[in-house]
């Protein structure tokens, strides 16, 4: 098996045992990125030299017997809406073309302190607005399982990079499902922590009351390790929660026998593809088989989550994106007569259509005379949705559902139909509105494309959410399947021969029928 195909924890062991150096590991990833990224376009920027230097530094310190932290020598990437000093942060928007942040995001700093080697910034829907990574000013990212399909979004670059083994992990941001949905569509693990658990300082804000940074990895174990690194109170983020970070890795251990698992019926209704629904129901059977007490339940206000979200998120976005005015940094349109024209031309040319659409929706929703009908009403709905969950969690430890109503759709299929695109987040949005922890874990393949199982927990019950996902992953093998990126015209014959547990087949293998329906 090639180095880059290993999981994060395996890489950590190899580094620890001295079987491989950080430099070798970094080089292996850089080579693989080089070989694959013209087809995937997962990255907005790759910092090869910088990464290799950093890796050599780690190796040097290690040779002196100093272990440099939990992620020492592990390569990783950041969604390109997380600011990094000295490396461009674009948010995949023309308006931030060439922008260099004067400071590092708190999560970037934490990863660096943990010893992780930073390889580059991953592609996204412009300002994280979208569900397909097609709204990137720098070209769309392709799904490693089928290059004609979208990777999901908005953290599509991060998800594709992890699925294609370009990176063992990447961070994304999740406002309405932007980590979990692409994780599901690319067949990797994606976690949205409890709101406030991870500092937002340095995450370019889309919708502040919903945004949360989370990891994308191949396994839940890797996810838990990353969560231990990136969570924790940050005095620079007033919404960040106080309290010590639990040992999530340790919380993964133990079975899920007797755990009360609720299955909200609203997440299995109209709009959910049959293939997806069947696989998720199979996964629930697996949980039941491990001793979980599974029962159907109801979250009655679920249908209002999407409309409420599409008021609240654009409202906050319309304000958060006001700072991109061409005055102090980033793109400024040439040739203006006065201030007003400077603003309008800059924003007209600098923002893409979906960003403009949301700014307009948000501006409208906050306008005097409409505030009560839209924004206030949406906040009331948000409260009802939070109450639904609170009630459900009196009876259940976790709730499970599909992550995405469909498998990865074809590129261009929904690009001109915003409403159809917005439906892609129908299963993920409620957890953002209620600030709950939720994870997507691969649960099989439909039409040869990955499907994700979503596990939602109570506030601050992130450990339990990961434990359920981990238990499921331990008893199944979906996550070790690797997309056959090399296709028929293989570039590199060395990549034959996987470990046997995975399938390197043609990448369109459907193992959705592994278990019978419920």
């Amino acid at each position: 098996m090639n180095l880059y195909q290993r999981t994060l924890i395996e890489m950590k062991e190899l580094l620890k045992g001295g079987e491989v150096s950080a430099e070798e590991l970094t080089q292996a990833h850089l080579d693989w990125i080089e070989a694959t990224d013209d087809r995937l376009n997962s990255f907005n920027s790759v910092v090869a030299e910088k990464a290799l230097n950093q890796a050599r530094g780690i190796d040097e310190v290690r040779s002196k017997g100093d272990d440099r932290g939990p992620l020492a020598g592990i390569p990783g990437g950041l969604k390109d809406n997380i600011v990094t000093r000295g490396i461009p942060t674009t948010c995949s928007s023309r308006i931030l073309e060439g922008y260099l942040s004067p400071y590092d995001a708190t999560v970037a700093q934490k990863l660096q302190e943990a010893g992780s080697i930073f390889l580059g910034k991953t592609n996204l829907d412009e300002f994280a607005m979208g569900s397909s990574t097609e709204n990137s000013a720098f070209g769309m990212t392709n799904n490693p399982w089928d290059l004609d399909r979208v990777p999901g979004g908005s953290s599509g670059g991060s998800a594709a990079a992890v699925a294609a083994r370009q990176l063992p992990f990447a961070l994304g941001s999740d406002t309405g499902g932007s980590v979990r949905q692409p994780a599901a569509l690319c067949g990797v693990v994606g976690m949205k922590p409890t709101y406030g658990l991870v500092s937002r300082y340095g995450l370019v804000a889309f919708a502040s009351s919903l945004d949360q940074i989370g990891p994308l990895t191949r396994t839940v174990e890797d996810c838990a390790l990353l969560m231990e690194t990136i969570c924790g109170h940050d005095p620079l983020d007033s919404t960040s929660l106080e309290g010590a970070v639990p040992s999530f890795s340790r919380q993964l251990k133990g079975d899920i026998k007797g755990m009360r698992v609720g299955v909200p019926k609203e997440y299995f209704g109209e709009g959910i593809d049959r293939g997806v629904r069947d696989l998720v129901l199979d996964a629930i059977e697996v949980l039941a088989g491990m001793g979980a007490e599974v029962e159907e339940c109801s979250l009655p206000h679920t249908e209002y989550a999407l409309p409420a979200y599409y008021i609240i998120a654009p409202a906050e976005a319309s304000s958060n994106l006001a700072r991109f005015d061409g005055i102090r940094y980033g793109f400024r349109a040439a040739g203006f007569e006065d201030l007003e024209e400077l603003y309008t031309s800059t924003r007209q040319q600098g923002f893409g259509p979906e960003v403009k659409r949301r700014i307009l929706i948000g501006t409208y929703a906050l306008s005097s005379g409409y505030y009560d009908a839209y924004y206030r009403k949406a906040q009331q709905v948000r409260t009802l949705i939070t109450d639904d969950f609170r009630e459900a969690f009196q009876r259940f430890d976790v709730l499970v559902s599909p992550t995405s109503p469909t498998v990865a759709f074809r590129s261009g299929e929904k690009k001109d139909d915003p409403l159809a695109m917005y439906m892609a987040d129908i299963c993920t949005i409620p957890a953002n509105l209620a600030g709950l922890p939720a994870i997507s874990v691969p649960c099989g393949f439909s039409e040869g494309l990955p499907v994700g199982l979503q596990v939602i927990g109570k506030p601050l019950d992130d450990g339990r959410v990961m434990r359920v996902a981990h238990a499921y992953q331990e008893s199944t093998g979906h996550h070790s399947r690797m997309p056959d990126l090399l296709g028929p015209d293989k570039r590199d014959e060395r990549d034959e021969g996987h470990d046997g547990e995975g399938h390197d087949g043609d990448g369109h293998y459907d193992n959705g029928g592994e278990a019978d329906g419920r």
Binding site: I82, V83, T89, C91, L96, Y99, S101, P102, Y103, A105, R200, Y201, G202, L203, V204, A205, A207, S208, S209, P235, L236, D237, S238, T239, A315, E316, S318, S319, L321, A322, R323, F324, D325, I327, R328, Y329, L339, Y343, T363, L366, S367, S368, Y371, Y375
Partner: protein, 491 residues
């Protein structure tokens, strides 16, 4: 202008912005110091760089509570921040973080007195203006419009904490508005939360003004008047605007709801924004900040550290020190003056009234003539006390004391030094004065004859001649006595 005779009545409300003197800005650790190199006191947070978040400076809340308590406000148990959205280059985030929906202070009041003012129709007497709200917000940057087709922006000011103090529409004349502002400024100055300098912009004033038929219950159409950045501007601007509105109505027109600015150069108000052009600020709750709970313990802690306020001091000066109300008001009008007065009276065993006489007369006169602030003078309270004692012991005359005082105020020297250097010690030695008295009698036969003929008041002239010959140093009482004696002797 004869506003009171026109049958119209004006209604005025005042909004004041006060910059708080915290060491650091409201949402970041940058310094708030005034006058630094442009853009040297900035960071990613106050520059609104992508990804930054605000963190409230608790000291700002302390200061705002202090202001609210000083204005007799009820304190709100919770502050919720909001965003006020609009585009302007001095607003780097594209929104201002403010809190008018949950003002920290409510239902306060300012009590003050007004002199009669025929021009604006004010009758003298005491007034009360209600404070409807006091809330915390952040300052915008400073735009510098220079010659040429560009504007510079200095972000040092961006994120300096402010409180906005909104009055009820309780004023009826420009003089009342001016007096209200004066009193408000004095109260805030005493709380120590701001240096309230209108010239530097740390106190800024806008007014809402309308006119209606005298005695009416229904207010007229309101005009917002901006740029009232001096006491003169408040008075003149309101006088002009009230007259303008009355003329519009008299001419059969209707006052338009708009924002106007006071133009200092032309002494006029000029239109800035009509109602149609008014911003829709799209206020909504600031999601980056949690609500702040203000509990009793917090309020009590701030109250315990509240400096003595002007009304309390006024009472103390009148009731304890026996000063006339007028004296006390003059002293209380300046915090520095009160501090100086308190230090002097704390050391001096004599009558506080004589201290007040020196402060109100010579000290304020000197400051006025020199165009200086008390804090700029090298004069110390100790020196003034020493000077008063020299007078009390007869070492210097009150006339000499005036010379001594001016020199102390100018150079910071002690009164002993001044007296010695200039040879100003009072001559209280009969042996030294008597020969001069005889000289004066000899040189002024005419007046002497008049005096001896019964014209007693001529004695003053002769004393003056003695003083002149001794360059003011002769003890005047002694000169008086010796003259009288010598003249009677010669009879």
């Amino acid at each position: 202008m004869k506003a009171p005779a026109t049958g119209f009545e004006a209604v005025i409300g005042i909004e004041v912005h006060v910059e708080l003197l915290t060491d650091t800005k409201i949402f970041c650790p940058c310094s708030t110091g005034f006058g630094a190199e442009p853009n040297s006191q900035t960071c990613p947070v106050c520059l609104g760089m992508p990804g930054v978040l605000p963190v409230i400076n608790k000291k700002v809340v302390d200061f705002a509570i202090r202001a609210a308590l000083a204005l007799g406000c009820e304190i709100s148990p919770e502050i919720r921040f909001e965003r006020k959205n609009y585009f302007y280059p001095d607003l780097p985030k594209g929104y201002q973080i403010t809190s008018p929906g949950t003002p920290l202070g409510r239902n306060g009041h300012v009590d003050f007195t007004v002199d009669s003012d025929s021009k604006s129709g004010s009758k003298s007497g005491s007034r009360q203006v209600r404070i409807s709200g006091l809330h915390i917000e952040e300052e915008a940057a400073k735009s510098i419009h220079e010659e040429g087709d560009y504007t510079l922006v200095d972000f040092n000011r961006c994120g300096v904490p402010l409180v906005e103090i909104v009055s009820a529409p309780d004023m009826r004349t420009p003089e009342e508005a001016r007096a209200y502002l004066q009193k408000l400024k004095t109260i805030i100055e005493y709380t120590g939360i701001s240096d309230v300098k209108m010239a530097e912009g740390s106190l800024r004033c806008d007014a809402n003004v309308s006119v209606m038929p005298a005695g009416s219950e229904r207010f007229g159409t309101l005009v917002e008047l901006k740029n009232l950045n001096s006491f003169r501007a408040v008075k003149k601007g309101l006088e002009y605007e009230i007259e303008r509105q009355i003329e519009v109505i008299r001419g059969g027109g209707r006052v338009v709801r708009e924002t106007r600015g006071w133009d200092e150069r032309s002494d006029r108000t000029v239109p800035q924004r009509s109602k149609e052009e008014a911003h829709d600020y799209r206020y909504f709750p600031e999601p980056d900040l949690l609500p702040i709970s203000v509990d009793e313990a917090w309020i009590d802690g701030v109250a315990a550290e509240m400096p003595e306020l002007p009304d309390t001091i006024l009472k103390r000066l009148v009731e304890d020190d026996g000063l006339p109300v007028y004296d006390a008001e003059v002293i209380v009008s300046s915090r520095d003056l009160v501090r100086f007065y308190d230090e002097v009276t704390g050391l001096y065993e004599g009558d506080p009234k004589s201290v007040s006489n020196w402060l109100m007369g010579d000290l304020l006169g000197f400051l006025n003539a020199e165009g200086k602030e008390l804090a700029e003078l090298p004069l110390t309270p100790e020196h003034l006390v020493q000077m008063l004692r020299l007078m009390d012991t007869g070492t210097i005359s009150s006339k000499i004391a005036k010379t001594v005082f001016e020199e102390m105020a100018r150079s910071g020297k002690s009164p002993e030094e001044v007296v010695k250097e200039k040879g100003l010690v009072q001559i209280s030695d009969e042996g030294e004065i008597l020969p001069i008295v005889r000289e004066v009698i000899e040189e002024n036969p005419g007046p002497v004859e008049q005096y001896l003929g019964g014209k007693e008041q001529v004695l003053g002239f002769l004393v003056g001649q003695v003083m002149k010959k001794t360059r003011g140093k002769a003890n005047p009482q002694m000169a008086n006595d010796l003259l009288r004696m010598a003249l009677n002797e010669g009879q």
